[in-house]
C-alpha cells in the first residue's frame, strides 16, 4: 500500500520533471535562431483570429448573466447601483481570462496535440530532423510564442465585449440610464483589474500551447495514441489554468 503510494508519487515527480525539461528546452529555443516567422504567423492567426467568435460569445454572455445575477442579488439590499462595477471587475479579473483560457484550451490545445501527435506517429517529426530542421524551433516555439501573445489580446477583446454585454442587459432589460451605467463602469475600474487579467491570459496561453505541444510531441504510436494525447492536452491545460488562476490572483490581490 505504502509502496504503491510511493511509486505513484515518484511517477508524478518524473512526469513533472519531463514537463519542466520540455518547457525549459522550448523557452531556450525561443531565443536562438533560426526563427520560423511563417509558422509563427500561421499560429497567431489560428490562435488569435479564429478564436475570436468563441471568446466573443462566451464573454458576451458572461457579461450579460453577471448583470442579471448581480441585479437580482443586489436588489435584496438595494445595492443595484453596484451592478456595473461588479460586472466590469468580474469580467476583467476573472471571467474573461478564465473562460477564454478554457475555451481556447478546448479549441487550440486539442488541435495542437492532434496535429503534432499525428506528425509524431507518421514520422514527420523525424523527417524534420533529417531535413536539418529542429522540430522544437519549427513546431513548438511558434506555438508557445503565439499563445503568450495572442491570449492577452483575445482577453482584451473579451473584456470589451463582456462589458458591452453587461451594458446591453443593464440598459435595455434592467432599465439603467446608459450614461450613468458607463460612468459607474469606469469610475471604480482600476488599472490592476485589467492588468492582472492580461497577466493571467499570458500564463494561460503559455499553459495551453505547452500542454498541446508536450502531449502531441510525446504521443504514443497509432491513432489511439493521438487520441489520448489530445484528451490529455485539454484536461491538463484546463486543470492547470484553474490552479494558476488561483495562484496569480493570490499574488496580485492578497495582503
Amino acid at each position: 500500500m505504502l509502496a504503491a503510494v510511493g511509486n505513484a508519487f515518484l511517477a508524478f515527480l518524473a512526469a513533472v520533471g519531463r514537463l519542466a525539461e520540455f518547457a525549459g528546452k522550448a523557452l531556450s529555443h525561443c531565443f536562438r535562431p533560426p526563427f520560423y516567422f511563417r509558422q509563427l504567423g500561421r499560429q497567431m492567426i489560428d490562435i488569435g483570429f479564429y478564436s475570436l467568435p468563441v471568446v466573443g460569445l462566451t464573454t458576451a454572455f458572461s457579461g450579460m448573466v453577471m448583470a442579471l445575477q448581480s441585479y437580482t442579488g443586489f436588489s435584496r439590499f438595494s445595492a443595484e447601483g453596484a451592478v456595473a462595477t461588479v460586472v466590469v471587475i468580474s469580467i476583467t479579473r476573472e471571467l474573461a481570462p478564465v473562460l477564454a483560457g478554457l475555451m481556447v484550451a478546448g479549441r487550440i490545445g486539442a488541435s495542437m496535440a492532434a496535429e503534432i501527435g499525428t506528425m509524431r506517429v507518421t514520422e514527420q517529426i523525424d523527417a524534420l530532423t533529417t531535413l536539418s530542421t529542429n522540430p522544437f524551433k519549427y513546431l513548438v516555439v511558434p506555438r508557445i510564442i503565439s499563445g503568450l501573445i495572442m491570449l492577452p489580446l483575445l482577453v482584451l477583446v473579451g473584456d470589451v465585449i463582456g462589458i458591452f454585454g453587461g451594458y446591453v442587459v443593464g440598459v435595455y432589460k434592467l432599465g439603467f440610464n446608459p450614461g450613468s451605467y458607463l460612468q459607474s463602469t469606469f469610475d471604480y475600474l482600476e488599472f490592476m483589474d485589467v492588468f492582472s487579467g492580461l497577466v493571467k491570459a499570458a500564463a494561460f496561453g503559455f499553459i495551453i500551447s505547452l500542454m498541446g505541444c508536450y502531449h502531441g510531441y510525446n504521443s504514443k504510436r497509432g491513432a489511439q495514441g493521438v487520441g489520448i494525447a489530445t484528451t490529455n492536452a485539454v484536461v491538463s491545460a484546463s486543470i492547470l489554468i484553474l490552479i494558476f488562476n488561483y495562484i496569480i490572483t493570490e499574488l496580485f490581490f492578497s495582503v
Binding site: M119, T122, E123, Q124, D126, A127, L128, T129, T130, L131, S132, T133, N134
Partner: protein
C-alpha cells in the same frame, strides 16, 4: 575482402530494446563509402530501427555507431544537427509534411540549409519530380491529394533533393507497380554511381535487391547473421539467407512473431 579504408558507417554491437522487446541484440555492420548496401530481413526484425539509430532518431541502449569515424551516440544535439545534413532518408511511410505542398516538401531540406530563393527551389523540385516519374502539375498539390505510390515517389524526391552524402531508403519500391519500381531502382543506382553517395536500403523485393545492391546484409533475431556481396548471396550457404531470398515457408526461420 581486404580492409582498404575506414568505413563510412560503422556499427559495433548496437543494442536496442523497447521495454521487453529486444529488437537489436548486437548489430555489427560496416558500409564503405560509395557503396550500396541492402539490408534484408523479416518484418519486425528491426531494419527500420537500425536506420533510425544511425540517424540519431532512436538512441541505442549500448554499442557504438561511427559515421565518418565520428561517434554519433554520444554527440550533443548541436553536433548531431551538423551531421544530419549529410543524411537523406526515405521513410517507410513517406512522412511527407501534409501541411505543405509537394514542391515545398521536396525543397524543404535545401531551403533549411541554404539561401536558395523560391523560384529556384520550385524549379529544382520540378526537376526532382521528373526524376521520379511525376509530372510538374503535381508540384502544387498537397500530399493528401496523391496516391500511395505517388506519395512514395515524392518522399524519394525529397530524400535525394539536397544530394546528401549518405542516403537511406526504407522500402523504396513497396506499393509501386513493377515498371515504376524499376524506374526507382535505376534512380537509386544513379544516386550511388553519379553522385557518389553511400546508400543503405531496406527492401523485401528481391528483384530490387539484385538491381541496386553492391552488398547485402541479413538481419535475424536482432543480429546481422550474414553479409557479403550480391554475387555471394545466391550461394551463401546460409540456410536463413537461402530461405529468405527464395521465399520459402519452410526452413529455419519460423514466421511466428
Amino acid at each position: 575482402m581486404s580492409k582498404k579504408s575506414t568505413p563510412k558507417i560503422e556499427l559495433k554491437n548496437v543494442k536496442k530494446a523497447f521495454g521487453k522487446n529486444k529488437v537489436l541484440q548486437g548489430v555489427d555492420l560496416d558500409v564503405a563509402k560509395g557503396e550500396s548496401m541492402v539490408i534484408i530481413g523479416g518484418s519486425g526484425s528491426g531494419k527500420s530501427v537500425t536506420l533510425k539509430c544511425i540517424l540519431g532518431l532512436i538512441q541505442p541502449d549500448s554499442g557504438s555507431i561511427l559515421v565518418d569515424s565520428q561517434e554519433i551516440t554520444k554527440m550533443s544535439s548541436k553536433q548531431k544537427e551538423k551531421i544530419n545534413s549529410k543524411f537523406g532518408m526515405l521513410f517507410q511511410g513517406g512522412a511527407l509534411f501534409d501541411s505543405l505542398t509537394v514542391w515545398e516538401n521536396i525543397s524543404f531540406g535545401l531551403r533549411a540549409t541554404s539561401n536558395i530563393n523560391k523560384d529556384d527551389a520550385y524549379s529544382l523540385a520540378v526537376d526532382k519530380l521528373k526524376a521520379v516519374g511525376l509530372k510538374d502539375h503535381v508540384a502544387k498539390l498537397f500530399p493528401s491529394e496523391l496516391s500511395g505510390g505517388m506519395q512514395k515517389r515524392v518522399a524519394l524526391a525529397r530524400a535525394i533533393a539536397a544530394e546528401p552524402e549518405i542516403i537511406f531508403f526504407d522500402e523504396p519500391t513497396t506499393g509501386l507497380d513493377p515498371i515504376m519500381a524499376d524506374v526507382i531502382n535505376d534512380l537509386i543506382v544513379k544516386c550511388v554511381k553519379d553522385l557518389g553517395a553511400t546508400a543503405v536500403s531496406i527492401t523485401h523485393d528481391m528483384a530490387s535487391v539484385r538491381k541496386i545492391a553492391d552488398k547485402v546484409a541479413m538481419i535475424y533475431d536482432g543480429k546481422i547473421i550474414w553479409n557479403g556481396t550480391i554475387k555471394k548471396m545466391e550461394n551463401s550457404g546460409n540456410q536463413y539467407v537461402d530461405q529468405f531470398i527464395h521465399g520459402r515457408a519452410t526452413g529455419p526461420i519460423e514466421m511466428v512473431a
